[in-house]
């Protein structure tokens, strides 16, 4: 009998839980697919909704100044490590040979002092990032270390595919995980989702260094990044960027790291500095 009571209790509780959840979800879903605000109930809007832009579809606001807090790999990031220090990077023998030949004076003489500041390298530097919207579909990410600028292109942007550059060409999209609701709704665009992450893919990179001590990446490198916003109970905001570097020339396997940037109240500590090869 006791088991029956317990089972019925669990059933009842589960039914209550699922009922509340289903009711809440159906309400939320209805809000998402319903008529435009202000439109008469039941009247089907006639104007198709414009597609969301990178800016309007953002689930969170990345704009502002973010500082890299170097609590990981400090000795490899805060200072330039000694030649031949490749620990943690899954390089192959070709990469080792290239890194063993690293000569910063040679890079300086060749005007290549920025080889450690390409897209896979600059994000690991001690730096501040200044994020803004250049236009509705282009996010600009500036780094004060080396005074670099990355452009993240949303929408149906097609990479021009010209000569390889230090920051390469980056496509961007928001990953919100929202379920499809049967085609594009009519009316004004729906409000942006509250949660999600940014995914960026960077290609067409000029060869450079993963580490400033000459650990190389090649022009065949692809960098995939996932940007997650973390809100803390004390009000702090962090962006953690999971970074996957794939280089068939110099890496034995993909190199996976994650970088931590903290939101700053303003840009008063921004301190643009030139590249340094040493």
């Amino acid at each position: 009998m006791g088991a029956q009571v317990q089972t019925r209790g669990r059933l009842l509780q589960s039914a209550v839980v699922l009922g509340i959840a289903a009711l809440t979800f159906s309400t939320l879903a209805a809000q998402g697919r319903g008529a435009a605000p202000g439109a008469p109930a039941g009247q089907a809007p006639t104007t198709p909704a414009p597609p969301a832009t990178g800016k309007s579809g953002a689930p969170f606001d990345l704009t502002g100044t973010w500082v890299s807090v170097i609590t990981e790999d400090w000795r490899w990031r805060m200072v330039t490590p000694p030649k031949g220090d490749y620990a943690s990077v899954p390089i192959n023998m070709d990469a080792k040979k290239a890194a063993d030949a690293w000569d910063p004076a040679k890079d300086e003489a060749a005007g290549d002092a920025c080889k450690g500041y390409g897209a896979p390298g600059v994000m690991r530097q001690p730096t501040r990032l200044r994020v803004s919207w250049q236009d509705d579909n282009t996010m600009k990410v500036e780094a004060d270390a080396g005074t670099q600028t990355r452009l993240l292109h949303f929408g149906d942007w097609k990479a021009p595919g010209g000569a390889a550059t230090l920051q390469g060409e980056t496509t961007a999209s928001w990953e919100t995980g929202a379920r499809g609701r049967g085609g594009a709704p009519a009316g004004p665009p729906p409000p942006p989702p509250m949660f999600g992450n940014l995914k960026t893919v960077t290609k067409n990179l000029r060869p450079g260094y993963l580490r400033k001590n000459g650990v190389p990446y090649s022009d065949k490198t692809t960098v995939t990044e996932y940007w997650d916003l973390l809100r803390q109970p004390n009000g702090d905001q962090w962006v953690v960027i999971t970074t996957i570097v794939d280089d068939p020339t110099y890496l034995a396997r993909t190199w996976i790291t994650s970088l931590n940037f903290k939101k700053e109240p303003n840009g008063s500590k921004w301190d643009a500095s030139p590249c340094s090869a040493r």
Binding site: G9, P59, I70, T71, T80, S88, R179, Q232, I244
Partner: protein, 342 residues
């Protein structure tokens, strides 16, 4: 009569428990219906592509770089002698749950489901070596009283923020953050975020400790889903490894640790930089440091750690200097075909 009583009891039970437990289940169920709650269960491989030295062989004595610790923490770490870990009474002390991010282990995550509603009641996370099981309750239960006992695993509750699982942990025992004695206290609390991207899981931990840390301490590590990953908790059986006099505890008195100077000397770092602190984690510190810093001419220790280029030479791990040798011929090559007899 009995049925009526049972029904009344059930309704009363639901009414009493709903505000706490059912609320968590409602949120969990909503997240599943909205497609934001994701399945984190499986075995996850730790690739150690950052902080390989600290996570794999262990940090150098006196290396506190990048750690926003205060003088109290330095005093504790300076007194640490690794030999204290092999005292029988200490051998089976568990690492606290923050070691999921700090440690070298792989990770296993299991879901505990409500057998009727299917809602996730809890995630149970565990690693390979003596680390506390990390139980994350998803059913909305409250954290216990501040006076409740602390444990290595602490008490953790989770909630979905979109497709990210956010976990709050309290009631931790004091423990080691790094295996060179850097501590956290039993006042430490922890917020973790589990973000899955395809077959990768990035775990970010933010540790707040008013006793030993100047600022919240953030670390993140990315794991890869890998069904072939070994996650085998090892039972611990204490044994006498080094005979000691009763009451003897390996340690260094203040100012007497002879090894603290080795780490900064090895990498030409100033002793100030080696001893950490919040200010050393920001870019402006690096800019000031680089104006005077000169790296050693070449790497001498752990240079190929975490790569496939490591070979052993006289019991020392060193970098291979040439391409791998060609595949060796089989031990028993097929016998040559004898020439035909004439």
């Amino acid at each position: 009569m009995l049925r009526t009583l049972a029904a009344a009891f059930t309704l009363a039970w639901v009414a009493v428990t709903a505000p706490a437990f059912a609320q968590g289940q409602v949120q969990e169920a909503q997240a599943r219906l909205q497609g934001t709650a994701i399945d984190l269960s499986g075995t996850w491989a730790n690739r150690l592509h950052e902080d390989w030295i600290e996570r794999a062989p262990g940090p150098h004595i006196g290396d506190y770089t990048g750690l926003p610790i205060n003088d109290e923490a330095r005093a504790v770490a300076d007194a640490y002698q690794v030999s204290m870990q092999n005292m029988p009474e200490r051998q089976c002390i568990l690492y606290t749950t923050q070691y999921i991010v700090m440690g070298p282990q792989n990770l296993r995550i299991e879901q505990e489901l409500d057998p009727i509603s299917g809602a996730v009641v809890a995630f149970h996370m565990s690693g390979t070596v003596d680390r506390a099981t990390h139980d994350v309750w998803m059913d909305g239960r409250p954290h216990p009283s501040p006076n409740a006992p602390h444990s290595a695993g602490g008490f953790s509750t989770g909630k979905w923020e979109g497709r990210m699982l956010t976990v709050t942990t309290t009631h931790l025992k004091s423990g080691l953050v790094w295996r060179n004695g850097v501590p956290h206290s039993d006042q430490a609390t922890m917020v973790e975020h589990y973000a899955r991207h395809e077959n990768m899981l990035t775990v970010t931990m933010i540790l707040t400790d008013p006793v030993y840390w100047e600022e919240p301490f953030i670390r993140s590590a990315t794991f890869e889903l890998d069904a072939n990953t070994r996650v085998l908790p090892e039972p611990c059986e204490p044994q006498v490894e080094i005979p000691r006099s009763p009451g003897e505890v390996p340690h260094y008195l203040p100012g007497e640790n002879p090894y603290l100077a080795e780490f900064p000397k090895l990498y030409n770092l100033s002793s100030e930089a080696a001893r950490g602190g919040a200010k050393t984690t920001y870019p402006e510190y690096g800019k000031a440091l680089r104006s005077t810093y000169k790296a050693p001419d070449k790497c001498t220790v752990y240079c190929c750690g975490g790569t496939t280029l490591t070979v052993m030479n006289n019991s020392q791990a060193v970098c291979r200097t040439d391409d791998p040798p060609p595949a060796t011929p089989p031990a028993n090559p097929p016998a040559a075909v004898p020439p035909p007899r004439k």
